[in-house]
Symmetry: C2
Subunit: 197 residues, 2 copies
């Protein structure tokens, strides 16, 4: 096999969920049918890697010092939503009508991995909350053990600054069937039941 | 969202089987954790697209005029295996002990799509068979309607040049259970049964 082709196949494996077989299929597909698209991908990758950094306000990906969302006058500055990753931020932005601002932790507390408050930018978040503009900190970390621990830490931090912490509701997913919901979720949903009107 | 990021996500969708969600995940993964790997991928793509063409002998991908396999003195020139795609060639090369040469059709006969003998390089294959060195043409097109039609066409071409055509055996896959084998294959395997020694 051409060694440039081998290098291309190997390079594709850097992508998440891409093993040897898929990498081969990608390389062949691009060379057979998508050379123009492949060129665009090559250029988009190089440009993005060189020019996309992090917003100094919210730590989301941004090609400018302050990202478009943080710079927007149309967003409500009294609500701040803390998420673990840019992907979580995007999911909330796309699924909800939320018009407040975000803070991206870029991880969750995980002392064993050396990820503490400093790595999550919590000193920066603390200063932000001290500014007095934020009234509610919506904590949207994932419902994992580490995500919950992070949520508790963030809630304390919020209260220290007189900011109201809130947490996304847990429960049976809309359209979900009870028999397929995991036991922890079901147990929580049952315990958190509310009276019907 | 950063527009460079949007461009990167859009660019990833050129890859086979990659929709919006997967493209997002790839872009975030590269920017968060694999900037070095992403740079390598960008460069490998650009270089491969610029420098990988087709071998003039076998039509496989090659960065040289004649590919490594065709140029090798260690391969048997009396056997030629015709396949539809470079991926099929690679599968045979990796799975079997085949030591002959290949001819990559880069497709199969499909008159409705404007793919005829000329598009598959059959004039070139005809000249190759006329050289007199090839004794067996192993026809490894896929067992689809178009692949079978192509196989019949190739078999005729081989006979015209006094070359023996052969076709890969069909049947129950090794380790396959009868109940999960498709009906066409099972029927063929039954009809092609051979006496046990
Ligand atoms: Zn921002
Ligand atoms: Zn070749």
């Amino acid at each position: 096999m051409s060694s440039l082709l081998e290098q291309l196949i190997e390079a594709f494996r850097v992508l998440p969920g891409v093993g040897q077989k898929t990498a081969q299929r990608m390389a062949y597909h691009v060379l057979e049918r998508e050379r123009e698209g492949g060129k665009r991908l090559s250029e988009a990758l190089a440009t993005a890697i060189e020019r996309i950094g992090h917003c100094v306000r919210c730590r989301d990906f941004s090609e400018t010092e302050v990202c478009v969302t943080c710079a927007s006058a149309a967003r409500d500055a009294f609500q701040l939503c803390a998420v673990e990753s840019p992907a979580d931020r995007l999911a909330i932005e796309q699924a909800t009508g939320y018009r407040g601002l975000y803070f991206i932790l870029q991880g969750r507390l995980s002392p064993l991995d050396g990820i503490g408050p400093r790595e999550l930018g919590l000193d920066q978040l603390s200063m932000r909350l001290a500014e007095g503009e934020v009234q509610e900190l919506i904590i949207a970390t994932n419902p994992t053990v580490e995500g919950e621990a992070t949520a508790h830490y963030l809630a304390q931090l919020a209260r220290q600054h007189g900011v109201r912490p809130s947490r996304l509701a847990h429960g049976v997913p809309l359209g979900g069937e009870l028999e397929y919901v995991d036991r922890g979720t079901l147990s929580h949903a049952f315990g958190s039941r509310s009276e019907m009107p």
